[in-house]
Symmetry: D2
């Protein structure tokens, strides 16, 4: 746990940062929800605020007066044990509270929490504030990808701004690093913050493997497309094959074939496809099919974690072959906070690393992200593995 002053600083920085992410938006951009997985930015602003109000202020401030009695209903995301909530598919139907009211709500809660932190030095509060900060950082990541979807799904293809670069590092050539088999320790060991799904340090036995030092590039992915990868059923999972056919998927999200050439929509607007950038916005299904086509495979999350010392990480979220499951001795936190991770541990795949949308210092080698295998709106890419 960080000491108080630092925690307060971190709290205030985090709150500011969320608002900076939204600074380039028009009011209208805060409101819409073009698909169920993409929440309105207004909702993210309110929900991260509600989290502090519901789990800290209303518990630790005597006679705490909520900013608005109905916001509990509007901004609860999925905490079944906390009460009723707006059905997720309806978030984009709500014009009220307005953006300006949501910012007032943020100011109110930020200010109350600042006072609480200054007055109450209990470790319970600080632990919860730390969770709230990390919760908000997760939503910062979602804010960026949701904003990209809202703008990139608009027929006018407006840009977010002129400065946000989606590429952290380009890829010329990649090579394979040999990792020796043996027993590796997996899971979070240090004292700093982590989520409960990273805990339970445990040993895993791995075989020898070769792991690429770079992510797969747009150039390589284009070869897969040009070789008919989307048309060869034998490369795909059965559910994936139905999915690409029903949804007419034949390229990563945001790729537009215009007069025979691929362009891709970025936060800076529509651009010629950058061939030496890592491929992003692909589903697990596509990552898997690409690896099949190459005769290679995705790493397990354990191989990935074991190989951390060998390569720069965190450039894209990377799909792994691992299903999202509890580590040995995993136990959920009691009560509503226990709904944070455990209840999603089925039908999802683990991603490791981090992306251009991930806030500074928010990810780490043991961090486990997870999504359904068909989702593509995150900056998701892949790294290949070969068996020896």
């Amino acid at each position: 746990m960080v000491i108080t002053d630092d925690l307060l600083t971190l709290f205030l920085e985090t709150r500011s940062c969320t608002e900076e992410i939204c600074a380039p938006l028009q009011v209208e951009d805060y409101v819409v929800q073009p698909v169920v997985d993409v929440s309105p930015p207004k909702w993210h602003l309110g929900h991260t605020t509600w989290f502090f109000e519901e789990f800290i202020l209303s518990k630790y401030i005597k006679d705490y007066k909520r900013f608005h009695s109905d916001f509990d209903y509007v901004f609860n995301s999925y905490y079944e044990s906390v009460g009723k909530r707006v059905v997720r598919t309806n978030r984009g139907n709500l014009s009220r509270p307005t953006v300006s009211e949501v910012y007032e709500y943020r100011d109110y809660v930020t200010s109350k929490l600042q006072t609480l932190l200054e007055e109450n030095e209990s470790s319970d509060v600080r632990t919860l504030v730390e969770i709230g900060i990390h919760h908000e950082k997760q939503h910062q990541e979602l804010l960026i990808t949701d904003i990209k979807f809202i703008l990139g799904n608009n027929p006018l293809l407006p840009k977010y701004n002129d400065t946000f670069s989606e590429v952290l590092a380009t890829i010329d050539t990649s090579s394979y690093i040999e990792v020796k088999g043996g027993i590796y320790e997996i899971g979070h060991k240090d004292d700093d913050f982590c989520y409960d799904n990273e805990l339970g340090v445990h040993k895993v036995l791995l075989n020898d493997f070769l792991i690429a030092d770079k992510l797969v590039s747009n150039k390589e992915y284009l070869e897969f497309i040009n070789a008919g990868g989307y048309k060869d059923s034998l490369l795909w999972h059965a559910e994936a094959w139905d999915w690409i056919n029903n949804e007419a998927i034949n390229a990563p999200l945001y790729w537009h074939k215009i007069e025979g050439q691929y362009q891709h929509y970025t936060l800076q607007g529509l651009k010629a496809l950058q061939l030496d950038a890592p491929v992003t916005h692909i589903s697990y299904y596509e990552a898997f099919a690409f690896a099949q086509w190459r005769g290679e495979r995705l790493p397990t999350e354990f191989e990935w974690e074991a190989a951390q010392s060998y390569f720069k990480w965190g450039e894209r979220w990377e799909w792994t072959e691992s299903a999202y499951l509890p580590y040995p001795n995993y136990t959920k936190a009691p009560g509503a906070l226990g709904e944070y991770n455990g209840k999603f541990m089925v039908n999802q795949k683990v991603l490791r690393g981090g992306s251009v949308a991930t806030p500074q210092n928010h990810t780490r080698p043991t961090y486990r992200n997870f999504f359904h295998p068909n989702l593509r709106w995150q900056f998701t890419g892949l790294r290949l593995v070969k068996d020896k």
Copy 2:
């Protein structure tokens, strides 16, 4: 056709009026589409403008420069013959163009059309402008009901303003007027504006009938509810019975039962149910079931039109028993404008009259509105008829 100056005045007044309807809105209210039938106000503002641009400016101004090349795609509603368009269910997913850009678009087109009207005295242009004005008036009506739905569907139940009264006249007692059978002329005869679906004056033979001089009141409708009207399958059409059971319908739209008492959401916010107001926001299915329960029936549109001289009209849209069908000798206008009415003449019921949302002078005794029998977001009510 009105003469030029008057037409220009009417045009400018109509454009202003649309914007006045939106004046109480927050920017966010312009964007959402909570159900498919309710379009975002921003879309109405743009679409009525596009209508003038597409059907008049681009045809009658040489080298006309459109305000934005993609707005054609964004604001076309359903004119198949004019080109591609945003799928209706996606209107609420578009944050751009912004509200402010849409207002700029309006100003641009209003100004160009004003110039055109001042310079071009051809009757073709004036006829089209007149259609465009009436088209925009229809959308004014929709704007009010769509705004009501957007606000009334929000868990915060915000009001529109403090002055919009939904009740034009209260109902104490009603009595029945006897109308003699015989041959009546139906359809629009005068020279003033009407839609093509009102044309084709023709004779209809009617029997004697008794028609109520007032609409059914909330008090009477409440008796139907309390008598178990929503639970007696024999009162309902088969499709209606499935509908009320699947959708859990047991009262008009906007009625909320709070601690045993009905309140209803109005444009002035949530209020105690006004018993002497006409019942509104009921579907044809409910109007029919109510009439069955009373042992009476709805008028046909011909009976309704024949009885016009006997009672004040226009207080609510009134469901009739008539299906929306072409009058004898009905012919569609050639080209895209022919898509205005004819292609909807199946599976809909005719409504007659007008409502509090109807602009001044927009309706008339021959006016035929039409909706699917399950729709309730208009101010729809009913008037009873008895056979002698």
Copy 3:
């Protein structure tokens, strides 16, 4: 009402006839329900039997012992007021009762009813038996069209038998008959059996019109297809245009384009398209679009009935432009039998005439059939009308 002996004879003939229709079937053909509108033949056999048991035997025979206590649940079609029933979409999921048990059920009820008719001469019973007979005749018609769908939807395209001819009369040339406008009496006048929806003789005022003496032929319909009729949005209702595009409709049901030539599936198996046969298996939407393309229109049901003396009728069910609505003074029968017709009087179009599937003496000039405008599995065709 017919006299007793004749009624018994008619009853027994009707029961036999139903079973003869099923004679060419394999046991498996009795069981399946490939789309919701097509019921398993086994269900028709049971339901027509249940009708006699539920509405007559159980009411007029003291201590009547039902054949099976659960058949009430299995074979009720849509009578809400009689009790629970198998959801319509689940009829094809029931392997039991077996076909053989259903035939035993039929024999049991036929025999009990025969005894009742011999012993009970009350006019109530006879009226109900007469309704039951006509109800069963309606199901004979459905049996034939449902069997055609079950076989014609099977990839093996098995034939029903070698003798059932679908064409009652061929069409060489057609001409138009002039019908004078004036007041016509509409509705059933005689003493013989009719349904409640034909009652309420009333006067209707018609204009002069010209009506074709023949139905539209496959040859004429093929011209419409070849002229691009399915690709011109201006010919179609809005809902029809969505429907043909979503369902990829481009020809009548059962037409197969094989090596550039149309063949059609008939009860005798797949055949070359018979050009001089009336077009059948088209929806109202298609009938309307065809008439639009020809610059003509469909008759109203009143025009059709008024013109009866001028042409042979009953060769195909003919779509009319009329919506299915109650005649003036229409009143439903009390209780469950009142569910027979009235509750379907919305969102459907009237058909007049009869088809090759209609039992002898089952239709008449005042008979009103009705279907949703997109349905095609009946032998539905059209006749054109022109205004003078």
Copy 4:
């Protein structure tokens, strides 16, 4: 691989056994498909036959004449690379080929394959025949569970026969066996038949754990129900909670609460719930929630396999916590047979053991079955694990 004579014997026994399973059925029972996962028995009979025809006879018999040219289309299940096929949801819409024709098809193929086995001693053929036999045994298991669903979903609740016992062993008390942590070898080692998903023997490192020697009983599961297990959101995965609420799930499949007491439908008909029988027909979601409620967990498939020597197995399919994923070095067979397992390795959970529906000698300790986590029509149960 077994030697020829034994293989032929096994082949003929397997073919007979499939038909014996169907012996108690009525013809109608062969035809229906009440839910997508349950195929008509007729289809199983045809599909297992098509497998031999498609992958062996048509390849290894010169000028092989298929029994029917269209059966390829009708009986292909999911082999994308082999050609078009009837969509899975339509299997229950096909009344033809008849049951009797399917039996003729079986006899034809059985006879041709017998001749081939007698004449061709190549190991390729024998390997494929062995796969075909095991494929058919898998379908025998499905046949029993699909038949149970077809009959148990029928409102008449007919029994299958009077002799099929669903309980292999009753449960009085259970105790926990301690298994030592360490490195275990996982996967199939012997020479006898196994599927490709069991291959790739590899080492796995396990912690100490305690595993129950018995399955969970109906008595224990009833306690979970009575304690409100289905109403406590904190016990359930998020997707599970939505599922039980949307589908109104509150007990295992086939449990009927009648006058306050649970009865369960078995292949011998409806019976009082047998408390000392293992609970079956529960989804993974329910197994997981039950374990949560007990404060224990499900075993991983590796723990389960490692503990095999300690307890009798094979009494019910047992849900594990493991996601269905490839073992290290897993490689798919080339061509269509490679579609057998690999393409399902996403979004499914592994089951281990076997059930009363599993043919003799068909399962083994390394056998990996897999289903989506919401499926319940198999005889699926659970065994608990505790950490030390």
